[in-house]
């Protein structure tokens, strides 16, 4: 394996929504050297690859940022960081305007005002939002982009970030990257649980199957503190295509109906988890399948839906046209997805301060990988990218020293990669390992097959089985760099699985139906108005409970909390 050694001021891991926007923000300081390492190609990588439907987080006229904080707090049943939510909400509109300047098409009315959808959304054409961001990144003279480089581990010494290791996903090249500050923006984790369509269409999932939780895993392995991994995100989606439902539910709008045609959403409540739980319960009690009631919409509306889905989830439009029956003739069947860990929808991720600095000095996190601040969506990820970039600029003022290279550690990592490339194929293949992990999580840690429910006995078995699988995965063999990528994607997910299990075990209540449905403790309990945090220490996942950071408070790291 060839070695490439790079020194930079700032390393951004993952050139997605948050990572690209951070790079654009850092582009204003021309003497700061910035490097983006991206496992795919920033033009179409991550959540935005196919496009998005709307701006989901925006402060519409007559509302203030605190309203958005209050909404998220209610939806998350109190387990949110109000300081993070507020600093994000204050920037939602500014980043939206910047995106429009960069070329994003936003619908406006005759008075040149953005057209809203409900209380918090605005209408756009988001098909090319990622190429727009990528073009803006390319214009920054001080930003270099390394496409097709997969990062696997941080370089950390005495809880101080120094850079990261990775490899080229096509060529036999090992990357040793040193940086004064690092931003982790690798998105959330999909593919932990057995998906809705486990066969040929196993990757027809909602969250990108290529966001495999690398950023979480690297942080966990480096001893960074994580928060709220037990608040899994399970989406309510169109059956089979797993396409978003918001376009129909809020756009048309359409109500949730059971097989008898009854509107059931009002019975269970309207938070994100309640809407899902309602659907799961209607199915379990024999009143499924469930639908979004679209039958009878006009052909004009139907045509607009065809277009809207082509701009975001084209398989849904194909599905309608192939069936010869569109949503005007047929209600749209809905189902819950497998659980994801996504800090931009729920609150799982790195435990950060208001600058989005993690508990590792000089390591920042933004977007779906950062915790405490749910309902970020696109604009929240952009806002966090900007906040982190600004904080990094001031950090660099006082941290000018170039990190010292560590040849011994680098050699060790390179040898780890080379071992996979040279060892003989054992009985376990990469495919089997993935299937096995997903089956364990599905059956023992509250997946689709158990209606998302679990108990302590099952979770303990899940952990034991995941640990065994981790051992076995050390014997996986890679024929080429493409295989190596897939081995590390499994390794990352297994690490994340262990932390999810530990968090599910720790929260002894059911705060959110379905998201964390603990059958040993089926009710909500005041006692658990706390954050469940964790750190990996000497190979064990230790749980730390922390008091809520509510309105007016701001959490700051101290030496004792690092």
């Amino acid at each position: 394996m060839e070695t490439k050694k790079i020194h930079t001021d700032v390393l951004i891991i993952g050139g997605g929504t948050a990572g690209c926007y951070a790079a654009i923000t850092l582009g204003k300081e021309k003497d700061v050297k910035v490097l983006i390492a991206e496992k795919a190609n920033i033009k179409r990588s991550g959540c935005l690859a196919a496009g998005v439907n709307a701006i989901n987080a925006y402060i519409t006229e007559g509302r203030v940022p605190q309203d958005y904080v209050d909404y998220c707090k209610k939806d998350g049943a109190g387990i949110v960081r109000e300081d993070l939510l507020l600093s994000m909400s204050e920037r939602l509109n500014e980043v939206t305007e910047n995106m429009e300047k960069l070329g994003l098409v936003i619908l406006k009315d005759e008075n040149n005002k953005y057209v809203t959808r409900g209380n918090r959304n605005i209408k756009i054409n988001g098909e090319n939002i990622k190429p727009i961001l990528a073009d803006a990144v390319k214009k920054q003279e001080n930003v270099t982009v390394l496409n097709h480089v997969n990062i696997t581990d941080y370089i950390v010494e005495k809880n101080q970030i120094k850079g990261a290791y990775g490899f080229d996903v096509n060529e036999q090249v090992f990357y040793e990257i040193y940086a004064k500050a690092v931003l982790c923006s690798t998105g959330g984790a999909a593919g932990l649980y057995r998906p809705n369509n486990p066969g040929f269409s196993r990757h027809k999932m909602w969250y990108p199957p290529f966001n495999t939780g690398a950023g979480y895993a690297m942080g966990i392995l480096a001893g960074a503190e994580m928060t709220t991994f037990e608040m899994r995100f399970i989406a309510l989606r169109c059956k089979d295509t797993i396409a978003p439902t918001g376009t129909i539910a809020q756009g048309v709008p359409a109500k949730q109906l059971n097989a008898k045609g009854e509107v059931y959403e009002t019975k269970y409540g309207l938070t994100t988890s309640q809407r899902l739980y309602g659907t799961v319960t209607e199915n379990r009690e024999g009143r499924g399948p469930c639908y979004l009631g679209t039958k009878g919409i006009s052909s004009e509306q139907e045509k607009d839906l065809f277009k809207a889905y082509l701009n975001m989830a084209p398989s849904q439009t194909l599905k309608w046209l192939e069936a010869g029956q569109g949503p005007s003739q047929q209600n749209v069947e809905i189902e819950g997805t497998e659980p994801y860990i996504v800090g931009g929808h729920t609150a799982s991720g790195y435990w950060v301060d208001n600058n989005r600095e993690t508990t590792v000095h000089g390591l920042y996190a933004a977007g779906d990988v950062a915790g405490g601040c749910p309902q970020k969506y696109v604009t929240g990820a952009l806002a966090e990218g900007e906040i982190a970039a600004e904080a990094i600029l001031s950090y660099l003022q006082t941290h000018k020293e170039v990190p010292e290279e560590d040849a011994v550690k680098a050699k060790e990592k390179q040898q780890e990669y080379e071992t996979y490339l040279s060892q003989k194929q054992s009985l376990l293949t990469i495919e089997q390992a993935e299937e096995s992990m997903q089956k364990i999580m599905d059956e023992y840690a509250g997946g689709i097959s158990t209606d998302y429910q679990y108990n302590e006995s099952r979770l303990k078995l899940a952990d034991e089985k995941i640990c065994n699988l981790m051992e076995d995965c050390k014997k996986l063999s890679a024929e080429d760099m493409d295989d190596l990528l897939r081995i590390y994607e499994i390794r990352e997910r297994l690490v994340v699985c262990r932390v999810v299990i530990a968090h599910l075990l720790a929260r002894k209540e059911t705060r959110w139906h379905s998201f964390a449905e603990n059958m040993d403790y089926p009710d909500q309990s005041e006692e658990w108005l706390k954050y469940v945090n964790s750190r990996m220490e000497n190979g064990n996942i230790n749980i730390y409970l922390r008091e809520l950071v509510t309105g007016g408070m701001a959490y700051e790291h101290t030496d004792s909390t690092r």
Binding site: K39, A40, N41, K43, R44, S45, G46, A49, A50, N53, A54, V105, L107, V115, R117, K123, I124, N125, G126, E127, N128, N147, H148, V169, N170, N197, G199, F200, S201, R202, H203, K204, M205, P208, P209, F210, D240, T241, I248, Q250, G251, V252, D304, L305, F306, K307, A308, L310, N311, A313, P314, S315, T317, L318, K319, L321, E322, A323, D482, L485
Partner: protein, 104 residues
């Protein structure tokens, strides 16, 4: 759900290979693109949009209701022209202007 690449049309420009967010497409010895990880396609259609010669089509697997129709897209200026072709060869097109925002 996955994609199909037509070797007779592919000119080996590698644009699809560069763009796929999952690194699923490779170049074979004949210099043509092929999908190595057929079951790992997310259906984002990035590769379709990158291909200048319309060599890539997208389809739904039978496990999610696919019955042999394909979806492809060509770009003309600001317009994406989407084409659905059923097994009988019948074609439906939908044009989406990138300058028009979604109504929903």
């Amino acid at each position: 759900m996955s994609i199909r690449i037509r070797p007779d049309k592919c000119v080996g420009c590698k644009r699809c290979i560069e763009a796929c967010p999952g690194n699923l497409i490779k170049l074979n010895e004949q210099g043509k693109a092929w999908i190595k990880h057929e079951k790992d396609c997310w259906g984002c259609t990035s590769c379709l949009k990158e291909c200048k010669v319309d060599a890539i089509a997208f389809f739904l697997g039978a496990d999610i209701g696919g019955r042999g129709s394909t979806l492809s897209v060509t770009q003309k200026g600001d317009r994406n022209i989407w084409k659905v072709e059923n097994p009988a060869g019948e074609i439906q097109t939908i044009e989406v202007n990138k300058k028009d925002a979604n109504k929903y």
